[in-house]
């Protein structure tokens, strides 16, 4: 063995990362929270959250039930406020836009920030219509252009091969895993920047879960992904950075490998080793 080989840097766990990349911690932030607080009537969900979510990386949010994980991601596309009064303090920015400032176009925001939910929620329409719906209301004409978008989105969601022969079939006839990938295709069809996922695999079997995780791995090349999960092994598998929330406050944020091998905060340690939560 030559000296040069001996001195070579240790291989990283995630080989797909470009070695020239300085690492997720040093990337430009896509979404920034500054002293953000969020309250529902009679209940405070988040306080003093300051956090940068890097561009084109997967950020996992973990923490025990009721710690504010869902509220945190739903504050990014502003669906946490639907059907209730909320009070928001501090700042949430997407790129440079203050998301709670005046004149925010919520329809456009929710196009730029797509979301997958715990249970797949396709529209009670055909497979094709599910994917075509978004581009159509956002102004894409019909015909070949729309068909191209539908095909591209289904391919990106790794569903095309399974459904290309039966585009007119009702989406509800697909399996749970296929429905979740259809929902992902529906998100991708409107060309978002950010994809939020709230426990996207909790209703899926292990194989469907592995497929979604595989897709997340591919999505990180083009999109900023934020995933909330109760499954800590999933957070460890799919994310570049992990955020640990507890009782509405941010306890620790860091590179996933560090968080899972050598966290700084005692509470993070206790949570990820299964000592509470």
């Amino acid at each position: 063995m030559t000296r040069a080989v001996l001195a070579a840097p240790r291989p990283r766990i995630r080989a797909a990362v470009d070695p020239a990349d300085p690492g997720p911690g040093t990337r430009a932030a896509k979404i920034t929270f500054r002293g953000m607080g969020f309250s529902y009537p009679g209940r405070r969900a988040l306080s003093g959250v300051t956090l940068d979510i890097p561009d084109k990386r997967v950020t996992a949010i973990i923490g025990p039930s009721g710690c504010g994980k869902s509220t945190l991601i739903k504050s990014i596309n502003r669906i946490a406020e639907i059907g209730t009064e909320v009070k928001v303090e501090g700042e949430v920015r997407l790129d440079d836009q203050d998301l709670y400032g005046p004149g925010v176009d919520l329809v456009d925001l929710r196009r730029r920030v797509g979301m997958l939910f715990q249970k797949p929620n396709p529209f009670p329409k055909s497979i094709y219509e599910n994917v075509a719906f978004g581009p159509r209301i956002h102004g894409t004409g019909g015909g070949a252009e729309l068909e191209a978008i539908v095909e591209r989105s289904l391919r990106q969601a790794a569903l095309w091969d399974e459904v290309s022969e039966r585009m007119r079939t009702p989406a509800m006839e697909l399996s749970g895993g296929q429905q979740q990938r259809l929902c992902l295709a529906r998100v991708l069809a409107v060309d978002p920047d950010v994809i939020l996922m709230d426990e996207p695999c909790s209703a899926l079997d292990p194989i469907s879960t592995a497929r979604i995780e595989e897709l997340i791995e591919e999505l990180r090349e083009r999109y900023t992904v934020v995933i909330v999960t109760h499954n800590m092994q999933q957070a460890a598998r799919v994310s570049d950075r992990t955020v640990f929330l507890l009782n509405g406050s941010l306890v620790e944020v860091g590179e996933t490998e560090t968080i899972f091998t050598n966290p700084t905060d005692r509470r993070t340690e206790d949570y990820i080793t299964g000592r509470f939560g």
Partner: protein
Amino acid sequence: MEHTSRHYETELQELKETILFIGGTVEEMIASAMKALVERDSDLGRKVIESDRAVDAAEIEADHLCLSLLALRQPAASDLRFIATALKMVTDLERIGDLAVNIAKRALELNQEPPLKPYIDVPRMSSAVSAMVHKALDAFVGRNADQARTVLGADDEVDKLNVQLFRELLTYMIEEPKNVSRAMRITFIAKYLERIGDHATNIAQMVIFMCEGRDVRHPRLKRDGDP
């Protein structure tokens, strides 16, 4: 704080106890092998050779526990470092046991001939390396990185004694060819002790990793994340 899962807690405890059993046994093996040599007690030497089987069985058990913990509990953070450390430590401890067996075998051979010289440096080396093994194990139990650090420099003295002893034995061999087989055997014993010191150093380094999550081996290599 304890784990929410009591079974998990019990399994981790069981692993720790298995490691300590191996550690305690090999410490005793070193002491007995030395006694077998110095006091020319060949029965004791044979007991050392026999006790290696218990160490080997416990090694397999410890490996099995580590693998099942990794597979079934998906440990993280300090638990993960503890299990990774246990998995590596157990190999070093088992090797220490093998080296104690080697010492006992050489003692049995030496005991069949008249003593070449009074044993002075060999017991000194032995107590130095025993202390290293003991401290490394204590540091493991107490999760005490500072205590583990005290082991790291300690094998300098062992190395020094080894060189000194080798020179002395060389003069015996040059003086009288009949001395060669006995002097060689004592040289081997010194070498075995020196190797035990190296294994104790490995264990101490792993304990520091377990406590702090920092790899202190091979300081000349630059690593990811270094400034």
